[in-house]
């Protein structure tokens, strides 16, 4: 967190639609998000909240039927939306890297792992193939894979090892920003911890900013400085990790915390948030969460809530809880 007051990434008013046969899916709606140098942000939300779409938008990798409807994405002051394709390619992999959810499918099955790492290096650096290979082997050692496994193919590795290779690819060119899209969802718990530990360590060492996309609040508590809670294509609450965990404000956030099973309580049923995420083709006019919210009033159903700063650095988009000064749990 060397100079986190300066912003590395600034997303303003981003909207992304998927135009499908069954209607337009409003995947991301007027999203605002910013990230400082060296900062790590947890992007939390349930399936379909638009987390991955946001990540792909930052990389400018949204393809048909996805469309950018509005917004600017400033990365180091340059608007990714308007950059020519050639410069986007230089940024992808070189300055922003992405780790995908399933490590087994994000590696090419017919290319050895060392060549896949060397490929990124030679795409972004003016380097001879031999030096690229040397550097790739160094990267493998950094993520804890023995050099004698360098010429193996991805199917000869376990899921956790594959994710290490993916991390090596992502960090091979010292990117400014690393986007990890549920990097541990496909791994079992012990490997999860190892991979998270590795990511945390490398992030510190290389001073990379991190966007950690997850639906696991535990991972956020462990790795992130700041959290943004996403619901139906928008950020509903953003705060420092500690502030969010001690004073969750938005009814959705408190619902998320409540739905984590508690060993001490005697209740037989889990506390779930009633209802489902709204149909992304038919978002409510007002607050997207209003249909499921116990605090919803008439004005919630009519007006889009705006973000209000309730504590320093703690923003929430819910006028009702702001008025009441928080939800009692």
């Amino acid at each position: 967190m060397s100079d986190s007051n300066k912003t590395l990434l600034d997303i303003r008013d981003l909207s992304v639609d998927y135009e499908t046969d069954s209607g337009t899916v409003y995947a991301v709606r007027n999203l605002n998000l910013s990230l400082g140098y060296g900062e790590s942000l947890g992007l939390v939300g349930e399936t379909g909240a638009g987390k991955t779409t946001t990540a792909l938008s930052i990389m400018q990798l949204i393809t048909d039927p996805g469309k950018y409807k509005s917004g600017e994405i400033y990365f180091e002051g340059r608007d990714m939306m308007t950059l020519p394709e050639m410069e986007k390619r230089i940024i992808r992999g070189g300055e922003i890297s992405m780790i995908f959810q399933d490590p087994m499918t994000s590696l090419n099955p017919v290319i050895t792992v060392v060549r896949q790492i060397a490929e990124v290096i030679s795409l972004h650096e003016n380097i001879t193939p031999d030096d690229a290979r040397k550097k790739a082997i160094e990267m493998l050692e950094v993520v804890g894979i023995r050099p004698d496994r360098a010429d193996d193919y991805p199917h000869q590795f376990s899921g956790g090892m594959c994710q290490r290779v993916v991390i090596a690819i992502a960090l091979a060119c010292n990117p400014q920003l690393l986007i990890a899209d549920e990097p541990t969802t496909a791994l079992d718990v012990t490997i999860q911890a190892q991979v998270l530990e590795l990511m945390k360590e490398l992030k510190e060492r290389l001073n990379t900013s991190l966007i950690m996309i997850t639906h696991d609040l535990g991972i956020v508590a462990e790795t992130c400085d700041r959290v943004a809670i996403m619901y139906a294509g928008n950020v509903v609450e953003t705060a420092g990790t500690e502030s969010l965990f001690t004073r969750p404000m938005h009814p959705y956030t408190t619902g998320l915390f409540d739905s984590i099973p508690d060993l001490d309580s005697k209740e037989k049923r889990l506390k779930v948030i009633p209802g489902l995420m709204p149909d992304p083709t038919l978002l409510p006019v007002g607050c997207s969460f209003a249909p499921r919210c116990t605090f919803a009033c008439e004005s919630c159903e009519r007006n889009k809530p705006t973000m209000v700063e309730v504590h320093p650095g703690h923003w929430v988009a819910c006028p009702v809880v702001v008025e009441k000064g928080g939800v009692s749990r």
């Binding site: 990798l61 099955p109 990124v120 193919y153």
Partner: protein, 284 residues
């Protein structure tokens, strides 16, 4: 670079050599190629030398495979014919595979109007029977070995385009392709380095079968006078000229038929072996 590519190449060679049928196929193909190159040294007679006193002779110690209706030695003709047939078969398939492969890959990768344009054009070509198409192309280019290869190559383009497009479509949406874009790969790089190596299996199978198809089609074209001009021998043409005598002198069709069959079998063995050897998952 050299160290690692040697390593991989050695793996492929090792896996290939473990497949006995593939090795047998390769030996046969090399043998046929040597025969083609040294035809003039191996053949006991010239391919056009007629011996009108000894027409339609059955196989004997003098004429191993017998003689045809003009008294030409069938053994010598088959040896000389391997030159034309192998060349036409392999080069025609090469043309079809490269042109069709590129069209199919571009079509499958980009999709949209480009895909529509290319694939509708391929549909038009496919709606014409391929032999008719080859006849039309050969007729407009005129007879000759090179023109035959072009005609047969072009008429096989749609098949390769379809196969490659189908494979590319299934590979394109896989995560490692998105990941390759996410590290800044260019489209060209992604198509040729990430997608096509993953669709080699159906292409190799189609190509090895395609050689047989090309040799037989050359025969068809030769038969109607658009292909290889007599007296230059060619397996397919020998097969079709022997057809008139098949009742009494079946060896006239038997030997060129065997030559085609063995070539195709050998190519299929090699194709299968190659497909398995190139697939790293087959490695133990």
């Amino acid at each position: 670079m050299s160290a690692k590519s040697n390593e991989n190449l050695r793996g492929v060679v090792l896996r290939f050599s473990k497949n006995r049928f593939a090795v047998l196929g390769l030996i046969l193909i090399i043998l046929f190629c040597l025969v083609a190159v040294f035809a003039s040294h191996i053949a006991p007679y010239s391919y056009e030398e007629q011996d009108l006193l000894n027409t339609l002779m059955p196989p004997s110690s003098e004429h191993w495979f017998g003689t045809d209706e003009f008294g030409r030695d069938i053994f010598s003709r088959i040896i000389y014919a391997s030159r034309v047939s192998l060349k036409v078969g392999i080069i025609a398939v090469g043309i079809g595979m490269i042109v069709g492969g590129i069209l199919g890959a571009v079509s499958g990768y980009y999709g949209g109007w480009l895909d529509n344009l290319i694939m509708r054009a391929m549909d038009i070509l496919l709606s014409i029977p391929s032999i008719l198409l080859a006849i039309a192309i050969a007729a407009s280019l005129g007879p000759g070995v090179v023109n035959i290869m072009i005609a047969i190559g072009i008429s096989s383009v749609p098949q390769y385009a379809r196969i490659v497009r189908g494979s590319v479509l299934s590979i394109r949406s896989q995560q490692f392709v998105i990941a390759a874009r996410a590290v800044g790969g260019r489209d060209f790089h992604i198509i040729f380095k990430h997608i096509l190596p993953n669709c080699m299996a159906p292409i190799i199978v189609q190509a090895t079968l395609g050689v047989a198809w090309a040799i037989l089609n050359t025969a068809g074209l030769s038969f109607i006078g658009l292909g290889i001009q007599p007296p230059i021998p060619e397996w397919g043409a020998m097969l079709s000229s022997g057809r008139n005598y098949i009742r009494d002198f079946s060896y006239m069709t038997l030997f060129p038929g065997l030559a085609i069959m063995i070539t195709i079998l050998a190519l299929n063995f090699v194709g299968d072996g190659l497909r398995d050897a190139l697939d790293p998952k087959m490695k133990r």
